[in-house]
């Protein structure tokens, strides 16, 4: 076999922090061959991104890199000075950074950033560089690249931005591409397309790819070999098929088990079927929540004047005549690609955003009618998409959880409140001592549990969960989902579960609605939707989901 494109020996990354050193990566070694895709997986904080950043020489103080050697096609690249590194970065190693939304400079057009990078590394004229930039965008699947090249990043959707970042990484035809979560912001269909581009590069030009992700499905689909990391160390390495089908180490086994599969049937459905009951026909009670013909328009017209005269009106139809109902004690899953109106629905149902038309009724009362506020506040709660942003960083966890009790007058005496908070924390499996701490002192999974504890604090009947696990890695996600199911059983809660992770929805929901451009294209019992989807859009969505079970 030929020489590896990248060879890493004994790489360590140490952060010199005030409370002692923290080793993010512990002497790891691995190689990547030309044309090979190496998948790197592991739970959040395992050191995956650090490894990639360290290879680029981009670790900032107080971080420090040490290694025996890092070679790129035989050339040592560790310990080089900043200037020599600049010649390698972008030119020989391309990198896709983890967060595409913030990786692009918002003040420069996509084209400017591409051309700048191309001309820095390749001897091309302005026009040639522009032509190349357009070709790159087209490769990455951006429609109409001639026109879109002069757009600013904010004019692109998250998925498009991610594709631009990929084009940028590929701009100077590097030998090695380090792609850190390149598809995390994409819907499944676009994700599939990107994976195709990467694979084609490997095949056609022998480029080596280091693909960092926590989505096992993507690995299964794209990678040849994979590395499993935990706490800065490599736990296991081998071919994708080997590891997924025959994991050896405990950690790997746990990780693989935690992955919800899109093809696995809903457990309750499966149980019901096993017992011979029919799962879908429980629709006997009066539904708890009824959404009827819900519509939301956003008026984006700039000025007061044009709003009055009605000229130049720019109206976004975010939600369009959506109707569905949710049974008490059940979970309704709402799926759909990014921007399809899921969160907007949620905000109207919780009382944050008045609907343009249509009604949301809870136990028969319209929550937007006069005098319904009290009921709405005490019975509906929401868990937000980003747990960190929904916790006030300046408040202690105890205060955060206690706020709904105070505001709704559920408990008033300090002693009683403290008791209840402690109880709630225990229920979400957190140490009651943590009520003294601030949100930033918790991990993502723990924060999500705090958010759940707060939602439970007001003793609601109905909880809207907007992407409750999107910020979490698979193992933590599994814990949170498990917790939610347990609480549902305990308190008889009703959930609206919003997610673009279809596997999660299949596992959790009793009924499912599919949103597309604000329209509810399909709704029905979970196994009906997943098992026999009716709408084209649903079918397309389901087809695009990568799945580990496809690995041979």
């Amino acid at each position: 076999m030929s020489q590896p494109v990248l060879s890493v020996k004994d790489l360590s990354v140490v952060f010199h922090l005030r409370r002692g050193d923290f080793t993010a990566v512990k002497s790891i070694s691995f190689d990547i061959m030309p044309g090979e895709v190496l998948g790197v997986v592991g739970e959040s904080g395992a050191g995956k991104s650090m490894t990639g950043t360290a290879i680029m020489g981009l670790i900032d103080p107080p971080g420090e890199i040490s290694s025996t050697s890092i070679t790129l096609s035989g050339d040592r690249i560790d310990g080089l000075d900043e200037e020599s590194l600049r010649k390698i970065r972008g030119r020989r190693i391309g990198m896709v950074m983890q967060d595409p939304l913030t990786s692009l400079n918002p003040l420069f057009t996509v084209g400017e950033q591409l051309i700048e990078t191309i001309r820095r590394h390749l001897p091309l004229s302005q026009d040639e560089a522009r032509a190349r930039a357009i070709a790159l965008l087209a490769d990455a699947g951006i429609p109409d690249p001639q026109n879109r090249i002069d757009s600013y990043p904010h004019q692109f959707s998250g998925g498009m931005r991610q594709r631009v970042v990929i084009s940028l990484a590929l701009a100077a035809e590097p030998e090695l591409v380090i792609a850190d979560e390149p598809t995390s912001a994409l819907d499944v269909s676009v994700q599939a397309q990107i994976i195709k581009v990467l694979k084609r590069l490997c095949a056609e030009r022998g480029v080596a790819v280091m693909l960092i992700t926590h989505d096992m499905g993507v690995i299964a689909e794209a990678a040849d070999r994979m590395v499993v990391m935990n706490k800065g160390e490599i736990v296991e390495t081998g071919s994708v098929g080997d590891i997924i089908n025959r994991p050896k180490m405990d950690y790997t086994i746990k990780l693989i088990e935690a992955i919800p599969s899109i093809t696995a049937q809903n457990p309750r459905y499966a149980a019901a079927v096993a017992k011979g009951h029919s799962f879908a026909s429980e629709k006997t009670d009066e539904p708890l929540v009824v959404v009827d013909n819900l519509t939301k328009q956003f008026d984006l017209s700039g000025s007061f004047l044009s709003r009055i005269t009605g000229r130049n009106r720019k109206i976004v139809q975010a939600v369009n005549g959506v109707s569905f109902s949710i049974q008490r004690g059940q979970t309704y899953g709402l799926v759909g690609e990014s921007g399809s109106g899921k969160s907007t629905c949620a905000r109207m149902m919780v009382g944050l955003l008045p609907p343009t038309s249509g009604t949301v009724s809870l136990e028969g009362t319209d929550i937007w009618s006069k005098g319904a506020e009290k009921k709405r506040r005490s019975k509906i709660q929401m868990i937000f998409q980003d747990p960190y942003a929904s916790l006030n960083p300046r408040w202690r966890v105890g205060e955060i959880i206690a706020e709904p009790m105070r505001a709704l007058g559920i408990a008033r005496k300090p002693g009683e409140i403290a008791e209840r908070v402690a109880d709630l924390l225990e229920r979400v499996r957190l140490d009651p001592v943590s009520m003294r701490k601030y949100p930033h002192e918790f991990s993502g999974g723990q924060r999500q549990r705090i958010a759940i504890a707060r939602a439970l604090s007001s003793q609601p009947e109905f909880i809207i969960c907007d992407e409750p696990t999107s910020a979490l890695d698979v193992s933590v996600q599994a814990q949170v989902l498990e917790l939610m199911s347990r609480l549902q059983e305990e308190f008889g809660l009703t959930y609206l579960l919003i997610s673009h992770n279809l596997a999660v929805v299949r596992q959790m929901a009793d009924e499912v609605g599919v949103l597309h451009n604000g329209n509810l294209v399909e709704t029905g019992p979970v196994e009906q939707i997943f098992g026999a989807p009716q709408a084209d859009y649903t079918r397309m969505l389901l087809d695009a989901v990568p799945d580990i079970s496809k690995v041979a």
């Binding site: 981009l58 600049r86 970065r89 990786s103 692009l104 400079n105 820095r120 700039g302 000025s303």
Partner: protein, 326 residues
């Protein structure tokens, strides 16, 4: 965009009316113009006569209305002190102030931004710490003291630069400029430095703080990952992103350079509207004071408008209005 400008212009008119109104209320408390207009032997009856003639005995709203009507026609009356038409007086002083303000603003911007970038890039460097500390002297001493200190060092002791005035100016008819004569250029140095010190400190600190923030953004890291040169990263990518807040403050500061020029112009006997205003306050020359305030109000309004437009130029995210998901 046009609608936005029109809306802002409408608001601006209200702002200016408010400025004029408050100014008028204020004049009652600044002193009595008559007391400083008559000589010490003028009898009470004479003073009363003058007050009557100047319309100072009319009800407040009548005086205000008259002022607004006249001002709309570009007529700000006659200066009580210098007995020349106020509009003419202000116009003849304007070039001096504007040249001083622009020079100071340029100094403040250029040095403020350079020093801000330098101190942000070399946060631990002792030279940067020294610049940070030294710049504070600019804000902790009164302007008049700094001005006199500079005069003492550079005019009296070293005799390098003139201590007062504008030097020789070139009269272009509608404008007088000191930019094309040697004495004119030498004369502007000290007052411009004095006037710019405060704004320079502010801009420098602001740029530094914003730069530190921006340099840690992902897109800077990504720019490094793309192998861009240091200069492109620091001055093109990072600096441009610090500009939005800097423009806000710098814009406000350009306005306050003009109000801040009061003391500087007086110390350096700079023949601008600032010193004109202060001499007018001393003798309660109401027409000049009113015209000055209207002018300054106008400057602020224009500057704010330009700042808002500049936002659009610098930050494309603002161009499509408020369209934003969450």
């Amino acid at each position: 965009m046009l609608a936005f400008i029109l809306k802002r212009l409408g608001q601006s008119i209200l702002v200016m009316l408010a400025v004029a109104l408050i100014a008028f209320v204020m004049f009652r408390y600044v002193g009595d113009p008559v007391a400083s207009m008559v000589s010490q032997e003028a009898s009470i009856a004479d003073q009363e006569l003058l007050r009557e003639r100047l319309g100072l005995n009319d009800p407040f709203y009548e005086q205000f209305f008259r002022f607004i009507v006249n001002a709309l026609q570009g007529n700000f009356g006659i200066s009580y002190r210098l007995q020349t038409p106020v509009a003419e007086l202000v116009m003849s002083r304007l070039p001096a102030t504007i040249e001083l303000a622009l020079t100071s603003a340029a100094i403040a911007l250029v040095f403020g931004i350079l020093a801000g970038v330098f101190t942000a890039l070399n946060r631990k460097n002792p030279a940067a710490a020294a610049i940070m500390a030294f710049s504070l002297i600019g804000v902790s001493l009164p302007t008049f003291l700094i001005g006199i200190g500079l005069i003492y060092i550079f005019a009296v002791e070293l005799q390098w630069l003139p201590s007062f005035g504008r030097g020789q100016v070139l009269d272009l008819g509608w404008w007088t400029t000191g930019f094309f004569t040697e004495t004119g250029l030498r004369s502007i140095i000290l007052p411009a430095i004095t006037l710019s010190l405060f704004q320079m400190t502010l801009i420098m600190r602001l740029v530094r703080a914003e730069m530190l923030e921006v340099l840690r953004q992902d897109y800077i890291k990504f720019a490094r990952a793309r192998g861009l040169s240091k200069r492109a990263i620091n001055f093109s990518h990072a600096l441009k992103n610090t500009m939005v807040p800097v423009i806000t403050i710098a814009g406000l500061q350009l306005g306050s350079i003009i109000t801040g020029a009061l003391i500087t112009e007086t110390v350096f006997q700079w023949p601008g509207i600032g010193s004109l205003f202060l001499s007018s306050v001393a003798v309660v020359d109401v027409p000049v004071m009113a015209a000055y305030l209207i002018f300054v109000g106008f400057v602020f309004v224009i500057v704010n408008l330009i700042v808002d437009i500049l936002y659009y130029v610098v930050d494309p995210r603002l161009r499509i209005g408020a369209a934003k998901g969450h």
